[in-house]
């Protein structure tokens, strides 16, 4: 019996993950980010503050308010539903999950959102124009550091505004293939470049503005 | 004057100067044996059958606006009896039988067009439901035909059989079903009732009830003054709970709005009434050429006769899924009606806890087809103070008894029916 290899892009299997050429540089760049660990944090009754405080080992002092995310070291902590936050990290899952469970014991339920979400980073000069085709939010009022759970192309997704022209998307794996098709159709007019990147590499990239870091 | 080819020719030669009014515009009298609230199809037909079947002619129909301004004048006009439950089929089938002779009976062409209602199915689950329903229909003496894929596509050539998504598996056809001209039904019953002596009083809103010491109904208050009544029959569709509340009765009803859509007129391309269950869509084509179609409720309580965009998009999406060659057809108009949604999707046609007060309402979005049959039964109930066997299941105590007439299994969530 040999160790099984995860299939990080299982939800996009058999789709062509290639771009669509444009006259000039592609207006939309999509990075498919693999190797991300996503852990749910769901505080028990009246424990949200305590749970936030217990996240110090991960670089955070509090749970971000609804509609916000924060970054510290290589980790991102994002509000993800009514009473739910996601710790998003390039570190490997089981170890991180154990650490988090210990830190939050009695304060919050921890579970692994595992590989159930496809993570995309969408950037480029036409990123906003593309997003507007599916996203119901007022993107002008959705500033870097904001996050939302919202409907896009008939799919409930999580959306992070990473920079003026960059969005992070978390898409339920079962919807990912359809979403991808919608995305490529909608981005075609701008030109689309596609890359697959490991989370570890990504997090070494540009940090968020200092103001957003916890 | 009787309407006929002869009278039409005569009048045509005289520049149509001699046609009498189809119905009078009388001032309300002081008292009527029966006051019917609501000048929609059900109210007018109830008046007609009271006069015709039971000889009760001292009857008024009070309508707050113009007759037909409610749901009867804004519905997608599907007439069928392809129901599931043995408790509901007899009423609808009786209604269908009355439809078949209605134009002649009323001397008014209601354009009842029996070009079939075809429920197309795309999944095994839908097929099983259709088989169950078709067999129930046949057991009740109703016509039902199972069509295979080829037959469905012959009848509905515009259906996309290869949409890469929902294969056409077959369809359940009721050949005798079809559609009718909504306004003609209103005017035809109004004219026929008027000719039997019924007063149709428009612009007359009922604002309250009058009861004697024993609690019995004695009259109604209206925007045109008090009108005495031996019996009061309520047929006010989307406003049932409002009107019944005036009599102190709270009903298992939520008012919702349902939208309807019509396209520009195009040459005939949809020859039957077709439904696309996966997309909750139904579509037919009017004799003028407009495609008439609709989908689901907007989904929240509302008394506004106008819909919102999500359902417009939903319905258009279903149309494009079902009949993708209609992409270049344009939507001409869309509107909404306020419907009583009940806790089991079935109506109330019954006596009420208040003596002298009778109820015909809770029609959800299916009451047009029932107009002749249900009004006929309702007239019976009002005249005889007891239900006819066809409307017996549709009383108010059925929830307490645990005997809802729930054909979709939606349960006590009106917006799930």
């Amino acid at each position: 019996m040999c160790a099984a290899e995860a299939r990080p892009l299982f939800c996009l299997e058999d789709l062509e993950l290639t771009g669509i050429p444009a006259a000039g540089p592609a207006g939309v760049e999509v990075r498919i980010v693999t190797g991300t660990t996503m852990l749910r944090i769901m505080p028990f009754r009246d424990q949200a503050a305590a749970a936030g405080a217990a996240l110090a080992p991960f670089g955070f002092t509090a749970l971000p308010a609804p509609g916000r995310f924060a970054e510290a070291r290589e980790n991102r902590l994002a509000w993800a539903a009514g009473n739910c936050w996601h710790l998003i990290s390039p570190r490997t899952a089981p170890a991180l999950e154990q650490e988090l469970k210990q830190s939050l014991a009695g304060l919050a339920a921890v579970s692994s959102a595992g590989s159930g979400l496809l993570r995309l980073q969408i950037s480029g000069t036409a990123a906003c124009a593309l997003m507007a085709k599916g996203c119901v939010l007022d993107l002008n009022r959705f500033a870097p550091g904001h996050c939302a759970i919202s409907l896009m192309a008939h799919t409930r997704i999580q959306l992070h505004r990473c920079a003026d022209t960059e969005f992070g998307l978390l898409i339920p794996a079962s919807h990912a293939a359809s979403f991808w098709e919608w995305l490529t159709m909608s981005a075609a007019e701008f030109g689309l470049a596609v890359q697959t990147t490991a989370a570890a590499v990504l997090e070494d990239g540009d940090p968020l503005p200092a103001a957003l870091s916890a | 004057m009787q309407y006929s080819v002869t009278s039409l020719v005569k009048q045509a030669l005289r520049g149509h100067q001699g046609w009498p009014e189809a119905f009078r515009h009388p001032e309300p009298r002081k008292h009527y044996d029966v006051v019917i609230i609501g000048g929609g199809g059900h109210g007018l037909a109830t008046a007609y059958y009271l006069a015709k079947e039971h000889g009760i002619t001292n009857v008024a129909v009070l309508e707050k606006g113009w007759i037909g301004s409610g749901n009867t004048g804004r519905n997608t006009t599907i007439v069928r009896s392809n129901y599931l439950l043995n408790s509901e089929i007899p009423l609808l089938e009786w209604s269908l039988k009355l439809w078949e002779g209605l134009s002649a009976e009323l001397n008014y062409n209601v354009m009842f067009s029996q070009r079939g209602v075809l429920d197309i199915f795309h999944t095994d689950g839908q097929r099983d439901e259709a088989v169950r329903r078709g067999n129930a229909m046949i057991m009740n003496g109703v016509d039902a035909v199972m069509l295979d894929r080829r037959q469905v596509l012959e009848m509905m050539p515009l259906v996309d059989a290869n949409n890469g998504r929902f294969p056409v598996l077959g369809g359940l056809l009721q050949p005798r079903a079809g559609s009718a001209r909504h306004d003609a039904v209103v005017w035809g019953y109004a004219r026929a009732a008027d000719r039997l002596g019924v007063d149709i009083i428009q612009n007359c809103e009922v604002t309250g009830f009058e009861r004697d010491a024993s609690g019995r109904m004695t009259g109604v208050e209206t925007s045109r003054g008090r009108i005495g009544a031996g019996k009061v029959a309520v047929c006010v569709a989307g406003h049932t709970s409002q009107v019944m509340q005036m009599a102190g009765i709270k009903l298992p009803v939520e008012s919702h709005k349902l939208q309807a859509f019509v396209s520009e007129a195009v040459k005939p391309c949809v020859d039957t009434v077709a439904t696309f269950g996966v997309g909750h869509l139904y579509v037919s084509q009017s004799d003028k050429g407009g495609l008439v179609f609709g989908g689901m409720l907007d989904g929240y309580n509302s008394f506004a006769q106008r819909g919102n965009l999500p359902i417009v998009e939903d319905v258009a999406e279903a149309m494009m899924m079902f009949l993708p060659s209609l992409g270049r057809v344009r939507l001409l108009r869309h509107w909404a009606g306020v419907v009583d949604m009940t806790m089991d999707g079935s109506p109330y046609i019954c006596k009420t806890p208040v003596e002298g007060l009778y109820l015909n309402g809770g029609w959800n979005y299916t009451g047009f087809k029932a107009i002749p049959g249900a009004a006929w039964c309702f007239a019976h109930t009002v005249a005889k103070d007891a239900p006819h066997k066809y409307n017996a299941p549709f009383h108010l105590d059925r929830f307490a008894e645990g005997r809802p007439v729930d054909a979709t299994g939606g349960g006590p969530f009106p917006n799930h029916h």
Partner: protein
């Protein structure tokens, strides 16, 4: 129609699912049958202001209590149904 979710902000109708009358209280276990029948089947159905339950199903998932006018569709208030909510904004 747009509903101001207390957690997510203004969102369009298509993100929400409706349930209805928010003034009902579930009877006690030993309540008489009529109380149960009324609870399950009788609803407030006013023409005008209405207090109702909606779920932000395609957003944060919260059940909300929304005050909305059934004639104008104007919404005057939307709060989380769970008293206090777990999270404050």
């Amino acid at each position: 129609m747009r509903i101001p979710c207390p957690l997510c902000g203004d969102r369009p109708l298509e993100e929400f699912v409706y349930r209805g009358d928010a003034t009902l209280t579930r009877p006690a276990a030993d309540a008489p049958m009529e109380a149960w029948v009324d609870y399950v089947y009788l609803r407030d159905n006013p023409k005008g202001p209405h207090r109702e339950h909606w779920r932000h199903a395609q957003g944060c998932g919260s059940w909300l209590i929304v005050d909305r006018n059934t004639v104008t569709h104007e919404i005057t208030q939307a709060i989380q149904a769970r008293p206090g909510g777990e999270v404050q904004r």
